[in-house]
């Protein structure tokens, strides 16, 4: 038992660190995920990585994966988190990609995987509906077979960044008489198809990260069905387990704590740096301790994966603790910036965007990020759903 990286792994770290330093777009340095990002900001790094062949490390090599071990992938994500890089979005890379190469037809693989790798094609996820959130299987959107087409009708919601999407993957009910989970199919939809309408939803941070997606008599060729008809729930669950395994965000939270310490060293409280205030410092240490525990838990899971065990129900722990930590981090960051957490958009009005923001730079996004991150314990299967999964799969109750 040891926590050391092998010399090969160290060398790998040097290699990717050098590559990132040389190739990561300078104007997106330390950007992370912000509410004011443009379409091209999301894609810049993805496209560079696509050219390098590093955009889909976890995929099997035959589909363009890098063949890295789970530990190497961990190092890769750590190195990207060090500079808070804007990573390729998960919808293509971690969600629909693995479903297509695992369950899709050869035509689907040939048609869709290259665009996901290169970052040329933007995907969005059509799962949730107004009446189907945690109870996803109660979804009502229908796909009715009509000759060589499915005709899709219904309403999806929380479709993240669908305003930019070229394609979407949708869960639709194809057998209304079957039991909830059994009549669902997994269908790929070109977002330019007539009848697809995307309406933005404004969120607490002022941004438009998610949408309502309306589907009215949308005609989709039957070859866009992935796998078998009525087996979509199986693919949906497979996708969710994949989604969870990267969700802990340990490396990113580590960088977040470093930044928090920098902020707290810069802020003044009672005539001293805020970080000298024991009540505050204690909360930072507690967060760091919880993160240290999560990091080892994730490494233990990775080691299991390396030994051939897939991401199991333990990944629910990573989701719960990872998101709790991300939320606490943004909460403490907002706390650290004090009263300068309040000005909206740094006090810059829409009429005069040349004004200089009030307060320190690091305060500008603190509240928006805090508000934004409340989503993490809700999405990807809410943390309560994760507890249901652990109850069933691990406790056996």
């Amino acid at each position: 038992m040891n926590l050391e990286f092998t010399p090969e792994e160290q060398a790998f770290r040097e290699e990717v660190r050098a590559f990132i330093a040389e190739n990561y777009p300078k104007h997106l340095a330390d950007f992370g995920m912000r509410e004011d990002m443009a379409r091209e900001d999301f894609l810049a790094w993805h496209k560079i990585l696509g050219k390098k062949g590093w955009s889909v490390p976890a995929w099997p090599v035959e589909y363009g994966g890098t063949g890295w071990t789970p530990t190497q992938r961990y190092i890769w994500s750590e190195e990207n988190a060090r500079i808070n890089a804007v990573m390729p979005l998960p919808f293509g890379v971690s969600m629909v990609g693995p479903v297509i190469y695992t369950f899709g037809s050869e035509e689907q693989k040939a048609k869709h995987l290259p665009g996901i790798r290169s970052g040329e094609v933007w995907w969005c996820q059509g799962y949730s509906e107004p009446g189907a959130g945690s109870d996803l299987a109660s979804l009502k959107t229908t796909a009715v077979r009509d000759g060589d087409h499915y005709v899709i009708n219904g309403q999806k919601t929380w479709t993240t960044l669908a305003q930019y999407a070229d394609w979407g993957f949708f869960l639709c009910r194809t057998d209304p008489s079957a039991k909830a989970q059994e009549g669902i199919s997994f269908i790929l939809v070109d977002m330019k198809t007539p009848g697809v309408e995307v309406k933005p939803i404004k969120l607490l941070d002022g941004g438009y990260e998610v949408n309502e997606t309306w589907l009215t008599d949308v005609r989709v060729p039957v070859e866009n069905l992935v796998g078998e008809e009525n087996k979509g729930w199986t693919y949906a669950k497979f996708l969710l387990a994949h989604e969870r395994s990267g969700i802990a965000g340990v490396a990113r939270s580590k960088r977040g704590i470093e930044k928090l310490r920098e902020i707290a060293a810069n802020e003044t409280a009672y005539g001293e740096p805020l970080i000298k205030d024991f009540d505050f410092a204690k909360k930072v240490s507690q967060l760091e301790i919880d993160l240290a525990a999560l990091e080892i838990t994730e490494l233990r899971t990775l080691a299991g994966e390396q030994a051939g065990k897939g991401p199991g129900p333990e990944s629910s722990i990573l989701k719960i603790k990872g998101t709790e930590i991300q939320q606490r981090l943004t909460e403490l960051t907002l706390e650290a910036v004090g009263t300068y957490g309040a000005p909206f958009h740094g006090g810059v009005s829409n009429d005069n965007t040349n004004e200089h923001p009030v307060g320190p730079d690091y305060a500008q996004h603190a509240a928006a990020t805090y508000f934004n991150m409340r989503k993490t314990s809700i999405y990807g299967g809410s943390n309560e759903i994760q507890r249901n999964i652990i109850t069933k799969m691990i406790l056996g109750l």
Partner: protein, 376 residues
């Protein structure tokens, strides 16, 4: 990075697991801790025979060449069975001082006797007014000719009633709480001037108040360098904390499993209470806390050899995280057991008690959070 145990470590685990299962069943334990002696020397002899007591010593010192990971495996199994025999005081603490700082003669005299099971040691560091500060010492050792004269009162010395020898911390110079001027001594408990008041602890163990009145010690009783004992004490207690965390993990694992099983059996409103989501989610939170505690225990154990700051941060992180998990799991286990959880008859309450006292050993959650802050 490797989270696998060696074949030897797996064998140790299996052997101890069998010993606990076959000879440490609940009724036997109950009788033993209520007996006059309060422990079972025959278990100690078996541990010696199995090589357990020599595990973390180098072969040169007469041990079996193991290390902190071996102690972790051992203590986790002991935790599962609430084993009271004093592995940490004897092997990890006394053994730790000797292997890190003992002279050849001291090693020769003491380590062999530990490995063979012939001698049992206790570590007398706590004082009535010292709380968790190892340097806050009223016990003094004054130079006297070639040796020292020891005076003072040590509080709640776990395992002391069973011990033949004591490792004692005392001030040899400086003011109370000065980091320098702290020294460590080893002596036989029957040395003239040593008296004890022995008692039971709430978690089924035994401890003593130990009084030293003009106890004459030879120069050879000193372990390490006079007045420079604090870093050594911090190292050894960090090792003890890692082992203690492993013990707590073992106890938490069983407490959680017992609770889940109870929720399967116990019916109310016509269904097993384990069907209630409000209880399911609490048992999931216990499970998550346990897994995080295991991770922190690994971290602390694997960082014992790191540089001082990194080691201390990892150990404090573990003591905080495991302490919080121990409290959560202990309290929730009792709650989910309902009235049965507060009876002496059910085992769960005894796990709760052990997990409660764990927090105050070698510094509680607040103490280690403070240490973590100071090192950050």
């Amino acid at each position: 990075m490797d989270f696998n145990f060696t074949e030897e470590q797996e064998m140790v685990r299996d052997g101890l697991s069998r010993l606990v299962r076959e000879q440490y069943d609940w009724e036997t334990r109950r009788k033993a801790i209520a007996s006059g002696a309060g422990w079972r020397p025959e278990i100690w002899s078996q541990l010696a025979e199995l090589g357990i007591l020599g595990m973390p010593f180098s072969e040169a010192d007469g041990g079996f060449g193991g290390g902190a990971v071996d102690s972790m495996v051992i203590m986790e199994e002991f935790g599962k069975g609430l084993v009271v025999e004093p592995f940490i005081p004897t092997v990890v603490c006394a053994g730790g001082f000797l292997k890190h700082a003992g002279t050849a003669a001291q090693k020769e005299e003491h380590i062999g006797a530990i490995v063979s099971g012939e001698r049992v040691y206790a570590f007398a560091y706590a004082e009535p007014r010292g709380r968790y500060d190892y340097a806050d010492l009223e016990t003094s050792a004054k130079k006297d000719g070639g040796g020292y004269v020891l005076n003072g009162h040590k509080a709640v010395v776990f395992g002391a009633p069973w011990a033949s020898h004591l490792v004692v911390t005392a001030r040899t110079s400086g003011e109370r709480r000065d980091p320098s001027g702290v020294s460590v001594f080893v002596l036989a408990k029957d040395t003239a001037g040593v008296t004890t008041r022995d008692y039971e602890t709430v978690d089924g163990r035994r401890a003593s108040e130990v009084y030293f009145e003009n106890v004459a010690l030879p120069a050879e009783a000193l372990i390490g360098t006079e007045g420079e004992g604090l870093p050594l004490i911090e190292l050894v207690t960090d090792e003890a904390i890692a082992a203690l965390c492993a013990e707590a993990c073992g106890a938490m694992k069983v407490a959680h499993a017992m609770t889940v099983e109870y929720s399967r059996q116990r019916k109310q409103f016509g269904v097993p209470i384990g069907k209630f989501q409000v209880l399911q989610h609490r048992m999931v939170d216990m499970y998550t806390a346990y897994e995080q505690a295991v991770s922190l225990t690994y971290l602390a154990t694997l960082r014992l050899g790191a540089d001082e700051t990194e080691r201390k941060k990892a150990v404090s992180a573990a003591k905080v995280g495991v302490g919080q998990a121990a409290r959560l799991i202990g309290q929730e286990a009792v709650q989910i057991h309902g009235g049965n959880g507060v009876t002496d008859e059910y085992a769960i309450g005894h796990y709760f008690k052990r997990l409660t006292i764990f927090d105050s050993e070698f510094g509680n959650v607040d103490h280690h959070l403070k240490r973590h802050v100071a090192l950050s």
